[in-house]
Symmetry: C2
Subunit: 406 residues, 2 copies
C-alpha cells in the first residue's frame, strides 16, 4: 500500500490572500511583484510576504527577468504545476483509463485497463488502487500526490461522492467512494459522473473562453454533460444531462416503442444508442459483438448499418435540439463511439438541431466532434481536482471533504 | 425630468474588503465587531475601519446590543436596506408593473399600467420614465435612487442590455435599453428577460435555499427561467429557457402541426399557449377575447375549455419532463394565467413529468404554483439589481455598465 502524505504537504495552511495569489498565477502568465501589486492593489510588503510563502512552498517558481525594453528588468514568477501529482481514473462500463497528471491537469502517464463495472465497488476500486500504486512506482513520487479523482458511469451525489441509484452499476448503490479510496491514499478524493468529467475536460482544454458548452456522449449509452455560466451543471440529485432516458421523438423510427435497458419504453437510448444499434443489426440477421463493429460497418459502406446510424443521429438530434433551446450553448461537442461514424451520424443530428431549435440559439452555434476523444474524462477530472485542492477554501483549511466546500 | 444623482452617492468608491464586508452583512443577520473578526479573520483594526466606513455611508446601522448571557453586551450592526431606492419595471406584451423597492428587494410602492410593447422602445420606455418620475414624487427620494431594472418579453443580451431579435416586440431589435434609461436616470440600468426575472424573484423570495429551480410561465406565451447552481442560466445569446418555440410532442393534439406565431410549425406555443387556446375556442365557435376568459370558463366548468387546458397541460408537461431530465431541478414553480386554472392545467403537466422524466430526477421534485404571482418579476428585478449595484466590483469601481462585471 502506498503511504501517501497528507494533502499538499504544505506544512500547514496558508492565509486567504496567499491562496488567492496562487489562483491569480494559475490563471495568468508569468508576473512580476509589481504586476501582482497592480493586479491586487495590495501593499508591496503584503505582496512580498505572500509571494515568498508560495515560492518557499514550491508552488511558484522563478521565470527569468522581464525584457529591459520597459525600464529595469524585474524577476518574473510563474505557477509550478510539477509541485504535485494528481491520480485520476475515468471508469466506464467495461474499460477504464488511468492517468498521472500535474497540477495544471496535463497528463504525464496514462494506462488503459479492462474493468467490469458490475463486479462492484470492492473489485473495481481495488483494481484502481493497485493500478495507481503501479503508476506511482517509487515512494518519492507517491509522497507528492495531492489528490485522487474518479469518474463513474452513473449518477453521483457530488457533495459526498456517493453513487446514487445507478442503472448499470450493480452493487454500487450508496457507495461513498471517498471513504474507500481516502483510506488507501490519504489525500483528497474527487468523484464525478463520467460525462460531466468529459464536458469539463473539453471545455478547459479546448474551449477555455466558452462559458456555455454541451458535451454529448454517444457510445453504448447516451448522455450529456453541461457547462453553464462557466461551470458544471449537476442538478439537485446529480442527474442533470442524463438525456438517454428521456422520451424519444417517436416519428423517427419504430412504430412500437422499444423496451429500454432502464425498464421504461421509448427512451432515446432504446432507439439511438450503441446497444440499440447492435440489437437492431442482430434482429436484421447481422449479429455483431460491439458498438465499434457497427461503426466499422458504416465506415465500410454497409447500407443497413449506415441507415441505422443516420436514424440514430436524428433521434439524438431531436433531443439535442430541445437541449439547445433550453440551455443556449455556444458549442456542442459530440464524443463517443457513434461520433466516430462522422457525418453518417452527425448529419442527422445537425439536421434536427437546425430545423427545430430557436433560430437565435443556432445562429452562432458550433456542433463539432470531440478533439480529446478518450482523454476528455481524465483531463476533466484532473482540472476539477486541481481546482478543488488548490481552491482558497482548501488551502486555507486543508481537509479531505473537498466537495462540500467546492 | 428627474435629476437623480450618480450611483450610490457614496462619495467615491470603497475598498475591496469594505465591499466584501457589506455583502457579509447582506446575507447574514446582525453581527458584532467580534463576529466579523471571527468570520473574516481580519485584524480588529481592519474590521473597525471597514465597518465604520459602512456606518458612515449609511449602509450599516446600529442594531442594539447582544444579550448579556454570553459575557459583556456588545453593539450589533445590520445592513440598512433603506439607504437607497431601486426602480423596477416588469414589462409584458400588454401591461407592466412598476415598483419602488429598497436595497433588500422589498416592494414599497407598486403601480400597474397598460402598455403596448409593439409601440416600440421610444413610446414604452418614455412611459416607464414618466411613471418612475411620478412614483418618486419628491426630489429627496429621487436623490436616493441607486439603480433601474427593466424586464422585457423577449431575448436580452445581458452584458449590454440589448434586445436581440425579439419575436413579438416590433421595433425593439437592437435597442440598448441602458443608453435610453441611463440618460434620463443617471444610475445603473439592469435589463433582463421577463421570465428570468420571475425565476429569480421566486427563488430569492420563496426558495432561498434551493440552488436548482425552474420557473415555467404559462400565459399568452410559454417560457421558462432557469436557476442552476444558484444563479440565472441565460445561455450564450440570452435565449436559455425559451421552450415556447421547441418542437411539441405531436401525439397530444392536432394531426396537422399548427402554424406558430414565430413562423415555424408545431411549436409548444402553437398547441398549448394562452393564444392557442383562444384560437381553438374561436375555431369551435366559442370566441372569447382574452386568456383570462378562457381560464374563467374552465373554472365555471365549461367542458371544451377544460379539455383544451388539460391537453395544453400535457403538451407543456412533455416539454417540462425533458427539462427536468436535462436540468434536474428540485423545485418547478408554475406561474402565468394558465396556472390559475389549477389542477385542470397542472394535472396533465404532472402526469407527463412523472411518466417521462428520470425516476431519480422526480424522486424529490416539487411542482408547485407561483406564490408571488404578479410580483415575481419586480421582486426578481430588485434582487438582481441590488446584487449588481452592491457587488464588490461595482462598489470598488462604480459605473453604469454593471452587467459586464456581474
Amino acid at each position: 500500500m502506498a503511504t501517501v502524505q497528507a494533502l499538499g504537504n504544505l506544512e500547514g495552511a496558508v492565509d486567504q490572500g496567499t491562496a488567492e495569489l496562487l489562483n491569480i498565477f494559475r490563471t495568468t502568465g508569468p508576473l512580476t511583484r509589481a504586476d501582482v501589486s497592480e493586479h491586487t492593489g495590495w501593499a508591496r510588503m503584503t505582496v512580498n510576504s505572500r509571494l515568498d510563502r508560495l515560492v518557499e512552498a514550491g508552488l511558484l517558481e522563478a521565470d527569468g527577468l522581464t525584457s529591459a525594453s520597459r525600464g529595469r528588468p524585474a524577476a518574473q514568477f510563474r505557477f509550478n504545476p510539477a509541485r504535485g501529482v494528481l491520480l485520476v481514473a475515468d471508469i466506464g462500463a467495461s474499460g477504464m483509463r488511468l492517468a498521472l497528471c500535474d497540477l495544471a491537469g496535463e497528463v504525464h502517464r496514462r494506462v488503459d485497463a479492462p474493468v467490469d463495472i458490475a463486479a462492484g465497488p470492492d473489485v473495481v476500486l481495488g483494481e484502481v488502487e493497485r493500478r495507481f500504486d503501479q503508476m506511482l512506482g517509487d515512494q518519492a513520487l507517491a509522497g507528492s500526490v495531492w489528490g485522487v479523482g474518479i469518474s463513474l458511469p452513473g449518477p453521483v451525489e457530488f457533495a459526498t461522492g456517493t453513487v446514487v441509484e445507478p442503472p448499470i452499476m450493480t452493487g454500487w448503490n450508496g457507495t461513498r467512494v471517498p471513504d474507500r479510496l481516502g483510506a488507501h491514499f490519504d489525500v483528497a478524493v474527487f468523484v464525478e459522473n463520467d460525462v460531466n468529467a468529459m464536458a469539463l475536460g473539453e471545455q478547459r482544454a479546448c474551449y477555455p473562453q466558452v462559458r456555455d458548452l454541451l458535451f454529448l456522449k454517444t457510445g453504448t449509452g447516451i448522455g450529456a454533460g453541461i457547462i453553464a455560466n462557466g461551470s458544471l451543471l449537476r442538478g439537485a440529485q446529480g442527474t442533470a444531462g442524463d438525456i438517454g432516458h428521456t422520451w424519444a421523438d417517436a416519428e423517427d423510427a419504430h412504430a412500437r416503442r422499444p423496451l429500454c435497458r432502464c425498464g421504461k419504453q421509448g427512451c432515446v437510448e432504446s432507439y439511438a444508442s450503441g446497444w440499440a444499434i447492435v440489437r437492431d443489426l442482430a434482429t436484421a440477421g447481422q449479429p455483431i459483438e460491439t458498438v465499434d463493429q457497427a461503426v466499422e460497418r458504416v465506415i465500410f459502406g454497409d447500407p443497413l448499418a449506415t441507415s441505422l446510424l443516420r436514424d440514430a443521429g436524428r433521434v439524438v438530434g431531436s433531443s439535442l435540439a430541445h437541449m439547445v433551446s433550453v440551455l443556449n450553448p455556444s458549442v456542442v461537442v459530440v464524443g463517443g463511439q457513434l461520433a466516430a461514424a462522422g457525418e453518417h451520424f452527425l448529419g442527422g443530428l445537425r439536421e434536427r438541431v437546425y430545423a427545430r431549435s430557436l433560430p437565435l440559439a443556432t445562429r452562432d452555434l458550433q456542433i463539432t466532434r470531440s478533439k480529446l476523444d478518450g482523454d476528455a474524462g481524465v483531463i476533466g477530472l484532473a482540472h476539477g481536482l486541481a481546482d478543488a485542492v488548490l481552491s482558497p477554501a482548501n488551502l486555507t483549511e486543508p481537509g479531505r471533504e473537498l466537495a462540500r466546500r467546492a
